[in-house]
């Protein structure tokens, strides 16, 4: 990190963490941090009254690891140029490596294009622990951004056995060990128990459907891992992809799951549960024939609950690539859509699948899916509970975020899109009746501020003194613009930041890459009492000896895979 | 007499064990042969260790004869390597992969001896 000072003058700061709502002021930066003041010799950036936020933080994106299967099976995606300046092939330059792709860009393009959107931190949503080196190898090639990843525990044999045998301390020790082995930041649970059932080509049907051969239910897995998560005082809560994803009527399972967590007491000042891509889990109806939005019911519950956060999984019309550890869902997708299907079950741990698809406004199902994401964002009153995502690239590529922001900020823009829907679609959604339009302040909360608390990263997602100098300046004069009407201008401004600063380095200027410093990788080292750790290790020794095909000593991700690591230690409450 | 055979190439353990010793006699022994079943060898009037000339549309090569009764009639196998590649099909049919299995060939007995690796490769430099 260079020793330098920057003064950003006339910044129209929108920093919800400090309650600052588009006030013009100066920002001071020294050695990569926000500071009170700088000397006369500081480099000056004149923000000229333009909208200034902390760097964006995408807390749920598929950007390293499984995305490679998506690239591999969809070479056509490399040539897609659907979003000018943020997709398709670009030749190498003095400053940048060659780029390709739209839904599944190459690693360099992921770094550059997120930075162009003013984003500076991403969280990879799923690390299969046995293949964790792969995630970190891709992280190493994603420039600019700070990175973290969530490790998969939801269908893990050792987890299920400890839950079944009521060994909460050993379970916590195993989770700590798994995070260390995979250099993960948090606990991801995908369709709890479903990955194991998929080992036999089956699935679990809900929270209380026992996992074959393991005598545990998804509900028990979820509660067991939540307890372990809190025992370890992890910086993030469990991060849950609910059972029954993608099925009509699944909103009930989703609410049931959320309710179940009311009894979980967080040991860190953050939510007890994060539910991810809720759009895919807020479906009403009993089949695809009577399919309709379940967003009002889910939002109604969320408005009365204060123990959780969630993200949208907003749909973008056009081609997408679904990729998830929810193996059975991907197989079902491929059969329903007659699409190609990749699958990768991971021994003793989980499943996964990848299927490309395309969302069309002409399909009433896709139209309703599109509406559900926006309905959730508008019907849930408190934006601090909501993280904006497209579950990139499941709902659509992250390069469409600027387009999606306009759905939230402009009823007119929504009307434009909705006017292309058929009557059946309109009957199955509540969106046409919603006139709420989000402000820049609310958008900032959903795209950077709430992530700070959600991931316990106080130095991220805000512009407080002492925070990382990750700053995005957008070409918007908030006092002169009506986002409701001038949504195209809003989209343009968010599509290429006037400036993006990463740790005080100018990485983007006028929507172009200026510099490509290497970001950090955060991982969690949770302390576990030695005796418990040693008892747990005896059990995993057996797993490796009898069932894994990789030696235990070759399982742990080595230091060399994290060129710029940040180890987050937790003390644990055993 | 010439035997019409369908030629395939492929890995063997011996060939694989000499991947990093290709200038050695062992590699030559592991690769410079053609397997036919005993009945086919009989038709050609050769026994193991005699020389065979394998000719295709793409070239010809002299290799040793070897019996493998796992081969059906008319199926010839040469381990992957420079000898096999003298006669395999370079055409990829637009999909990147040349024709390394299933090349029509004619095989006959010969008095010539197989070239060692360096002599075989030297021909390319002199072409």
């Amino acid at each position: 990190m260079r020793m330098s000072e920057i003064l950003i003058k006339n910044a129209n700061v929108c920093d919800p963490a400090q309650g600052i709502n588009c006030e013009t002021m100066d920002l001071c930066i020294r050695d990569g941090k926000i500071v009170e003041s700088v000397s006369e010799s500081a480099e000056v950036i004149d923000a000229a009254g333009r909208l200034t936020m902390a760097g964006g933080f995408d807390g749920h994106t598929h950007s390293a690891g499984k995305i490679n299967v998506g690239r591999f099976m969809n070479p056509n995606d490399a040539r897609r140029t659907l979003v000018p300046g943020l997709s398709g092939p670009e030749a190498r330059t003095e400053k940048t490596r060659a780029q390709v792709g739209y839904n599944t860009p190459n690693t360099y393009a992921i770094g550059y294009r997120y930075a162009k959107l003013g984003y500076t931190t991403i969280c990879e949503a799923a690390i299969p622990m046995l293949a964790a080196r792969h995630t970190h190898e891709e992280f190493k090639e994603i420039p600019i951004l700070d990175k973290m990843g969530l490790s998969l525990f939801g269908s893990n044999w050792q987890v299920m056995e400890y839950v079944r045998d009521k060994e909460p301390e050993k379970l916590a020790a195993y989770v700590a060990w798994g995070l260390k082995a995979s250099r993960g930041y948090g606990v991801k649970i995908v369709n709890a128990g479903g990955g194991e059932a998929w080992g036999w080509g089956k699935n679990v049907s809900g929270l209380y459907d026992p996992v074959p051969n393991f005598d545990v239910t998804p509900a028990e897995i979820l509660m067991g891992l939540a307890e372990a998560n809190e025992k370890l005082q992890l910086p993030h809560s469990v991060h849950v992809h609910c059972n029954n994803l993608g099925k009509p009527g699944n909103y009930e399972t989703t609410i049931e799951t959320m309710k179940m967590f009311e009894k979980v007491k967080p040991t860190v000042d953050r939510q007890a549960l994060h539910v991810t891509h809720v759009q895919f889990n807020a479906y009403a109806g009993t089949s695809w024939r009577d399919f309709e939005t379940g967003a009002p019911m889910v939002a109604d519950y969320l408005n009365g609950a204060n123990h959780l956060t969630f993200d949208l999984g907003q749909v973008i019309f056009g081609p997408a690539v679904t990729m998830t550890a929810d193996g059975p869902v991907e197989y079902a997708n491929s059969r329903m859509l007659h699409e190609k299907w990749s699958n990768q079950d991971i021994e003793l741990e989980d499943a996964s699948g990848v299927v490309p698809l395309s969302y069309s406004p002409k399909s009433f199902i896709n139209a309703v899916q599109w509406a559900i994401g926006i309905e959730l964002a508008l019907l849930v009153e408190d934006p601090w509970k909501i993280m904006f995502t497209t579950d990139s690239p499941n709902g659509g590529s992250f390069v469409n975020y600027p387009e999606a922001f306009t759905y939230l900020m402009s009823a007119k823009k929504r009307e434009q899109v909705i006017s292309g829907f058929g009557k059946m679609a309109l009957d199955r959604m509540v969106l046409p009746g919603l006139d709420r339009e989000l402000s820049f302040y609310e958008l900032a909360i959903m795209t950077r501020s709430m992530q700070s608390k959600m991931y316990s990263r106080p130095e991220k997602g805000n512009l407080k003194v002492g925070s990382d100098a990750d700053v995005a300046i957008y070409d918007i004069i908030t006092s002169d613009i009506d986002p409701s009407v001038e949504h195209e201008k809003v989209k343009q401004a968010f599509s290429g930041a006037a400036y993006t600063l990463k740790d005080g380095n100018i990485v983007v200027k006028d929507g172009k890459i200026e510099a490509t410093p290497m970001g950090r990788t955060y991982w969690v080292n949770a302390k576990v009492p030695a005796d418990i750790d040693s008892a747990m290790n005896k059990d995993t020794d057996i797993k490796f000896k009898k069932y894994y095909t990789v030696s235990k000593s070759n399982y742990m991700v080595e230091d060399s895979y994290l060129p710029n690591p940040v180890e987050i230690r937790t003390e644990g409450a055993f | 007499m010439k035997l019409k055979a369908n030629l395939i190439s492929g890995r063997t353990a011996d060939q694989g064990a000499h991947l990093e010793a290709k200038t050695y006699r062992g590699y030559f022994d592991a690769c410079a042969y053609c397997e036919l079943n005993s009945a086919d060898l009989d038709k050609l009037g050769v026994s193991e260790g005699n020389s065979l000339k394998v000719a295709t549309d793409f070239g010809e090569v002299v290799v040793f004869a070897k019996a493998n009764d796992g081969n059906p009639d008319g199926l010839a196998f040469i381990p992957m390597g420079p000898w096999a590649n003298t006669v395999l099909d370079p055409d990829t049919h637009g999909c990147g992969m040349p024709g390394l299995k299933g090349v029509p060939s004619e095989i006959e007995a010969t008095e010539e001896k197989p070239l060692d690796m360096k002599s075989l490769m030297k021909q390319y430099r002199e072409d």
Binding site: A98, A131 | F58, P90
Partner: protein
Amino acid sequence: MPVIKDAVCSLCGSLCDDITVTVEDNKITKIENACILGHSKFVGMFEHDRIETPMIRKDGELVPVPYEEAIEAAAKILVNSRRTLSYGWCSTSCEAIGKAIQLAEETGSLIDSTANVCHGPSALAAQEKGSPGASLGVIKNRADVIVFWGCNPVHAHPRHMSRYSSFSKGLFSTKGRKGRKMVVIDVRKTDTAKLADKYVEIEQGSDLLLITALRSAVNGHEDVIPETVAGISKEEILELAETLKNAQFSCIFFGMGVTQSRSKYKNGDGVSSLISDLNQHSKAVTIGMRGHYNVTGFGQVATWETGFPMAIDFSRGFPYYNPGETGANDVLVREEADAAIISAADPGAHFPQKAVRHLAKIPVIQIDPYANPTTEIADVVIPAAVVGIEAEGTAYRMDAIPIRMKKLIDTEFKTDEQITKDLITKVRELKEGA
């Protein structure tokens, strides 16, 4: 004397990581758990010669030169070339592959891996129909039906059957081989076929016919199947389809017999489709038997760095991919490449004559620990450390599981990664000078 446990064998795509290596005086004197291929690699390297020094061909003969001179000569070839083919990079680490891709990008080269003559068609098949697979431990723990189609693990992957497939035991496969049905489909009775419960001998080049017939049977359309397909009776085909349908968990491992025979990538496409159909009845997956220990790694690194797994053409500045046009054999057979850099592979031995003939005509840079047929047509030869023995690094097993290879002994030789870095530096220097 140091004994290193859980060493990784850098020979075939099985990437066994349970090898015990004894090192004495910086030499490997004993190796346990390895197969014949691994043994010959680890112990054999002290029994046969290395390329001792960099060499440049002068008046038809390779003569020793200092390292810097070889790097400069190689860099000049790259800078003066208008269409360089960079080929191989499969018996090396992912770290070296990353640098090779960077070099190709900076020199506007075309880069391809040994998949070009191996599982390249499997990549095309995945692009058509996907790749429904699993990690090898899933097979070990669950599979009760295992099919080897056009592959011969007894020879090519000698420990595969004991560690991962036929003979392995796991949580739901406690009986090992006794609890499994092993089917081999091949054109000749291989040593693997001799171990099978069921050997199906098909007519060479008719794999797609059999796959299609099996799909018909699995999907309940047995009426359309002729009395004989691919030399197999209808009765036998129906029986095989029943075996697969009634399995708890089946896996089709496939090899070069499928990718190199007639119909090439359409065979793999058919296998993926068959697997999808089978999952209507029971769990089924498929895994390609990858040859070089890190050919899978090349595909992974290339895919995340360029978007494409192989046959990547940087002549436009951005990656362009069209394997029937930009594959290594195609550019050589069209006599399009005007220089080549080859590392950790041996096209001199493994490409058909027409491609080798063109290679012999153009300047060739070779980076390899050992002399091989490619050396005979190379113009600049740079010796390298043996990755997995003298250098550490990442490799991907045939099931895309990444494993870190250990450094077991010291060496004076430079690693592929270092050599490639030096080439990048020298190429930049020459370009700036120009």
